[in-house]
Amino acid sequence: MAKLLEVNNLQTGFKNSNDTLKVVRGIDFHLEEGEILGIVGESGSGKSVTALSIMRLLHDTPGEILSGEVNYKGTDLTKLTEKQMRKYRGKEVSMIFQEPMTTLNPVLKIGRQMKEVILLHTELNRKQAHQHAVETLESVGIPRAKDIMNEYPHQLSGGMRQRVVIAMQISCNPSLLIADEPTTALDVTIQKQILKLLKDIQKKTGMGIIFITHDLGVVSKICDRVNVMYAGEIVESAETRDLFNHPKHPYTKGLIESIPKLGHNQERLSSIPGTVPNLNDMPKGCTFSPRCNFVMDRCHAEHPDFYETDNISCRCFLYDQIAEERMSHV
């Protein structure tokens, strides 16, 4: 499969009066065509800023891309001018946000908002655009799509609004869809419907999806591959099945163990001590070292690289040790 997106050493920072706080601290990953890649992490881990950096949507924030490349089908999106980037947004790369009302304009009818995207990016005329909008709404499971074209966003339920947003974002057949916590604001029974919808759309159109969430359960349902982020870095990357069967990084392990599991009758939950480090006070060495149960002297001094074990690449010295031991046995 061809690589649809390749992110190399992306660094994004937020400027304040005297210095720059790095929120995304040099991440590398790629997405293949037709793949669903999960980015999972807790609040403040930099997962949403990663998405905004790819979409170049940081101009409303004090944030800016400090270095790195975002290669989409061979074009480096970070080098494009705003005018050029507009041709990509909505047509080639689209984004779904957590709260549908951040995307939808409350004072415009849904039909007008749907048609705006289509008219901007395709050759269709108004009538054809209207027809295409209705068809797209129907394809995401919206009943009475024709009537809804004439309604305002507030007249719909949360689940329906998110469907409208999905319809809007896929109406121009983008090759890449970034979904930033698309189901977090929804109830579980509705979340299940939306996850199924996204999976069906992906199968039908073959687009690549980057799925950002804090919910490991959701990742395990929908993603092919997962990147786990902690404090602005990817700490572990693997296929979903491998990651959940044999998590390697102490952070991933801790995260998985701290979720209450249905039907397990647990007396206590295991938890990760402490909290996520402050951006302007990052620990030296491994960023997870102050909270880690397996911490070694080395972790406080050096910054770990990626080590490969059992199809998982993981930023942790524990697996360097294993490699070294193996070497010494040979």
Binding site: E42, S43, S157, G159, M160, D187, V188, T189, I190, Q191, K192, Q193, L195, H214, D215, L216, G217, V218, S220, K221, I222, R241, F244, N245, G254, L255, I256, S258, I259, P260, K261, L262, G263, N265, Q266, R268, L269, S270, S271, I272, P273, T275, V276
Partner: protein
């Protein structure tokens, strides 16, 4: 004690009126529609349901933050639903609340010490300053906050720490019942598990009774002894912790369980109980059984007849026509 129940709720009802234009018919949101349940001394009762099902309203009704339209709330063998504000104060000492948003529920203008001292100044006038301070420090330590932080303001703490302070504030009066309304929903999972463990430890130490309200069934299942499942203002099933997962009865409970994405489950193509459609509006709920519009097992009678709460055994009560006399075989 003559009664094993600390709290008894009988046919509690709250309808909120909606303001409509001139000459329009008056509408109400049926937030809580005649619910009944009991909580035993020392147990955790979990209320679970999706947004708008009335679980938070129930918590607020019990704590007297809003007044019920009808029904009885019996706490410690005293009926408390029609007390005056003054009488309520005495009851609230025994019944405290922990809120969802640790950012909104702590005053930004008060230090941690002031937040925790205020309830003591009102309810424990007989203690001197030093005794009160000792009590505050001891409790903060138990809740995992170093007393070194006593003179800091709420914004100086992280979300998890703030929720610890919120819990300490609820416990400072040594209440019997804690009503916790989504206390961990705003927190990350690694912090969520710290708070859940803390709440379990404190319960054991102070012999607390919890009413724990959450939308997250896995959290509810972890912390609760018994669980009530709410849908559109009704309790559709009350069940023990063990039975709710191994032997759920109501079709809605089954759907809710299967909708929770669990780690490691590869999503099979064949679906379990999957719900179609949206949650109906509480201002215009479906007739008969409110769940019939989304229920995969809906029958003719579900559209017209409201199902009664039916006691199946010691551990399970369900409101569903599938479990009426003569229907049991069809259900299993």
């Amino acid at each position: 004690m003559s009664n094993e129940y600390l709290l008894e709720i009988k046919e509690l009802k709250k309808h909120f009126p909606i303001k409509e234009g001139f000459m329009k018919e008056k509408k109400v949101v049926k937030a809580v529609d005649s619910i009944s349940f009991n909580i035993k001394q020392g147990e955790t009762f979990g209320l679970v349901g999706e947004s708008g099902c009335g679980k938070s309203t129930t918590g607020r009704l019990i704590n007297g933050l809003i007044d019920a339209d009808s029904g009885e709330i019996i706490f410690n063998n005293h009926q408390i639903d029609s007390l005056s504000t003054k009488q309520w104060r005495k009851v609230r000492k025994e019944m405290q609340m922990v809120f969802q948003d640790p950012y909104a529920s702590l005053s930004p203008r008060m230090t941690v010490k002031e937040i925790l001292m205020e309830p003591l100044n009102i309810h424990f006038k007989n203690l001197n300053e030093k005794e009160k301070e000792e009590r505050v420090e001891l409790l903060l330590k138990k809740c995992g906050i170093n007393p070194y932080h006593l003179n800091k303001y709420a914004h100086e703490f992280s979300g998890g720490q703030r929720q610890r302070i919120g819990i300490a504030r609820a416990l400072i009066l040594q209440p019997q019942l804690i009503i916790a309304d989504e206390p961990v929903s705003a927190l990350d999972v690694s912090i969520q598990s710290q708070i859940l463990n803390l709440m379990k430890d404190l319960q054991e130490e102070f012999n607390l009774t919890y009413l724990f309200v959450s939308h997250d069934l896995s959290v509810i299942e972890f912390i609760s002894d018994r669980i009530g499942v709410m849908y559109l203002g009704d309790i559709v099933e009350i069940s023990s912790k063990e039975k709710i997962f191994n032997d759920p009865k109501h079709p809605y409970t089954k759907a809710l369980l299967s909708a929770i994405p669990q780690i490691g489950e590869t999503s099979g193509e064949e679906e379990e109980v999957s719900l179609q459609g949206d949650i109906p509006s509480a201002s215009n709920p479906p007739s008969g059984c409110k769940f019939h519009t989304r229920c995969p097992f809906a029958m003719e009678q579900c559209k017209t007849i409201i199902p009664r709460q039916r006691i199946l055994n010691d551990e399970q009560t369900v409101a569903c026509h599938l479990y009426e006399e003569g229907m049991i075989n069809n259900a299993t």
